[in-house]
């Protein structure tokens, strides 16, 4: 436990005045504009916004794949310049190595770090047990379902004991039922590891259920539109999604995002409103689009 608490002191993500521009001159696209955000050690923070708002770009910067045009991203006070095992990343696409068994996949980061075989084995097996997939340790990824692959993706990212976990719509490709189960599994894992999480999603309920704090982004160019605290108690249970507190947060976020998703779509839709197309906008509204 002491180790977990020591870890909890680390993992402070600090993004200041971040701007990202792709292309040059005529083809210039401003993806992200003067974004500042932070993730406190041990905190679960979500980043939500309409598609194309640059939220994945932001995550890529923190992961070290993309260099910002302006501003900077820091982890525990150190500027982020390249990918590293101090930041675990879980991708939207399944990113397990198909040629490695499930256990070897989880061991991969440790192998790169030069950890010896027996220790790797022990760690990987413990993590697979945590993910409920120990009995599949000798299977190949192609033998598993999408939810299983993504659980392995999560524990693989945790194997090197990173300070932060960066998740880019990790459950986006899963069906709704699997998704809900995965969210519960993730909160459990997160509570055990007490590490900082930056979680990208376009699913409002998902972001509320998982997070301590939510950043809402605007349509391109992406800026931070709002920062919302989620005061729901932990541990979170699936039944919580029916409580009035939860519903209120959903409504609040839907209102914020609705404007942005409209802005992200063709301008004429924004001008005329959806009624101009003879569409009926229900209480859930266009928020359902993303």
């Amino acid at each position: 436990m002491t180790m977990a608490m020591a870890e909890a002191q680390k993992g402070f993500i600090d993004v200041r005045n971040m701007g990202v521009t792709f292309g040059a001159n005529d083809n210039k696209v401003v993806a992200v504009e003067s974004v500042s955000l932070n993730v406190q050690p041990g905190e679960f923070v979500s980043l939500i916004g309409p598609s194309g708002c640059g939220k994945s770009t932001l995550l890529s910067i923190v992961a070290g794949f993309v260099k910002p045009t302006s501003g900077e991203a820091k982890l525990d006070g150190k500027a982020i310049t390249r990918p590293g095992s101090d930041r675990g990343v879980v991708f939207q696409q399944y990113s397990l190595f198909p040629w490695l068994s499930v256990r070897k996949n989880v061991e991969f980061g440790l192998k790169m770090a030069g950890v010896d075989q027996s220790k790797r084995n022990t760690t990987a097996r413990a993590l697979l047990d945590l993910a409920g997939l120990l009995s599949f340790e000798n299977h190949y990824p192609d033998q598993l379902s999408g939810g299983m692959k993504q659980r392995i993706g999560i524990v693989r990212a945790l194997a090197t004991s990173p300070q932060v976990l960066l998740m880019d719509e990790p459950f986006g490709a899963l069906d709704t039922q699997t998704r809900v189960v995965m969210q519960e599994i993730l909160t459990n894992i997160w509570q055990q590891f007490k590490i900082s999480v930056l979680f990208i999603t376009h699913d409002i309920e998902e972001s509320i259920f998982l997070s301590d704090r939510i950043y809402v982004m605007t349509a391109r160019p992406g800026r931070i539109k709002a920062e919302i605290k989620v005061p729901l108690p932990r541990p979170r249970k699936a039944e919580m999604t029916d409580t009035p507190e939860f519903m209120n947060l959903v409504q609040e976020l839907k209102g914020l995002i609705r404007e942005e998703s409209l802005a992200a779509m063709a301008p004429e839709i924004k001008d005329r409103g959806l009624s101009g197309f003879g569409m009926k906008v229900g209480p859930k509204g266009v928020g359902e689009i993303f």
Partner: protein, 335 residues
């Protein structure tokens, strides 16, 4: 074949795969066939035969169980497949037999074509002679030398070209200029270039195998999912580790496609080179037979070449399956 293999693999991956492949590989089937018999009573030597360690090998296999497993493999589907294979090969043989028996002449002329019996006689006379076996051994040596040099250069170069834009810019123009020249067209130049006949023939074999291996390796790197490279980087992989642990295994299916194609082209090139400039070798044997009006020997040479080519591609496929067990589960089946 894919569905049958995957169904069985669940129970006993390695053993089943071996038995499954026996007919495909001509050469190793002899040794495996021998090994399979004692394996009924003592499974240990059969396990030792398998190059890849398989810790979860079941310790004892009873005779009845083994028999039942073998019997379970004789399905209706397989009987039909085997039957059609016999029809296909039988028809070819029958065409040859009847053509030579009645000396058919209808634009193509069977007048001088040796009968199957004459070829069989030739095999019994020549087949065990030193001359014939030495010719085979020399051809195989040339193929292996040229082929392995092609792998040693083609695979690393292909990985580098596939990965680095600058390496690509540097090498691809040369590759694109040289690639359309068939290996056979290199024969005169090769004789001039290399100090002896042997080296020039190996060089032509190398040329034949090199380009398919190189291009498929490049293609393998390009078709690798970028997210895997990013994932590896996040997990702390250095550039060298990335090559060794991600790019190489990820490209392996395409590399093996390149090896299979390369082996085929290498044989074509080798035989042509041996016919033109050779001393010794199966190609030389065949061409010499023609010059000496020894017609049965021509056919014997052709059949020998066919068998050698079949054996080589069978071995490549077998090694590929052993190195890439995960492909049995790959969606769409790359096999």
């Amino acid at each position: 074949m894919g569905s049958m293999a995957s169904a069985k693999v669940v129970i006993l991956p390695m053993i089943d795969k071996q038995t499954d492949r026996e007919p495909a590989a001509v050469k190793p089937s002899a040794t495996q066939g021998v090994a399979a018999v004692p394996s009924a009573n003592t499974p240990a030597p059969a396990a030792a035969e398998i190059p890849m360690p398989e810790p979860e090998q079941i310790p004892t296999v009873s005779l009845t169980k083994l028999l039942r497993r073998l019997l379970a493999q004789i399905t209706r589907e397989r009987i039909i497949t085997a039957g059609l294979a016999c029809v296909s090969l039988g028809a070819l043989f029958l065409f040859w037999y009847l053509g030579t028996k009645y000396r058919l002449e209808f634009y193509i002329r069977f007048k001088n074509v040796p009968t199957p019996y004459e070829v069989f006689q030739q095999l019994t006379q020549v087949g065990l002679s030193n001359k014939y076996l030495v010719n085979i051994a020399i051809s195989v040596r040339r193929i292996l030398t040229g082929f392995f040099i092609a792998i040693a250069i083609g695979v690393p170069l292909g990985l580098a070209i596939g990965k680095y834009q600058r390496v690509r810019d540097l090498f691809m123009p040369v590759v694109e200029v040289l690639r359309p020249i068939p290996a056979i067209a290199w024969v005169p130049m090769s004789i001039m270039l290399w100090p002896n006949n042997e080296a020039s023939i190996v060089f032509i074999t190398f040329i034949g195998a090199f380009f398919p291996i190189l291009l498929n390796t490049i293609h393998g790197v390009h078709s690798l999912d970028g997210v895997l490279i990013r994932a590896a980087r996040c997990l702390g992989a250095s550039e060298f580790r990335l090559f060794l642990n991600v790019i190489l295994p990820g490209s392996l299916p395409h590399i093996f496609t390149g090896l299979a194609v390369g082996m085929g082209v290498a044989w074509v090139s080798l035989i042509a080179a041996e016919m033109i400039s050779g001393q010794f070798g199966v190609g030389y044997f065949t061409w010499e037979a023609y010059s000496l009006v020894d017609y049965p020997a021509i056919v014997l040479g052709m059949i020998t070449i066919g068998f050698l080519g079949l054996a080589c591609s069978g071995i490549i496929r077998m090694v590929g399956n052993l190195l890439m067990p995960w492909l049995a589960f790959a969606p769409g089946g790359k096999r």
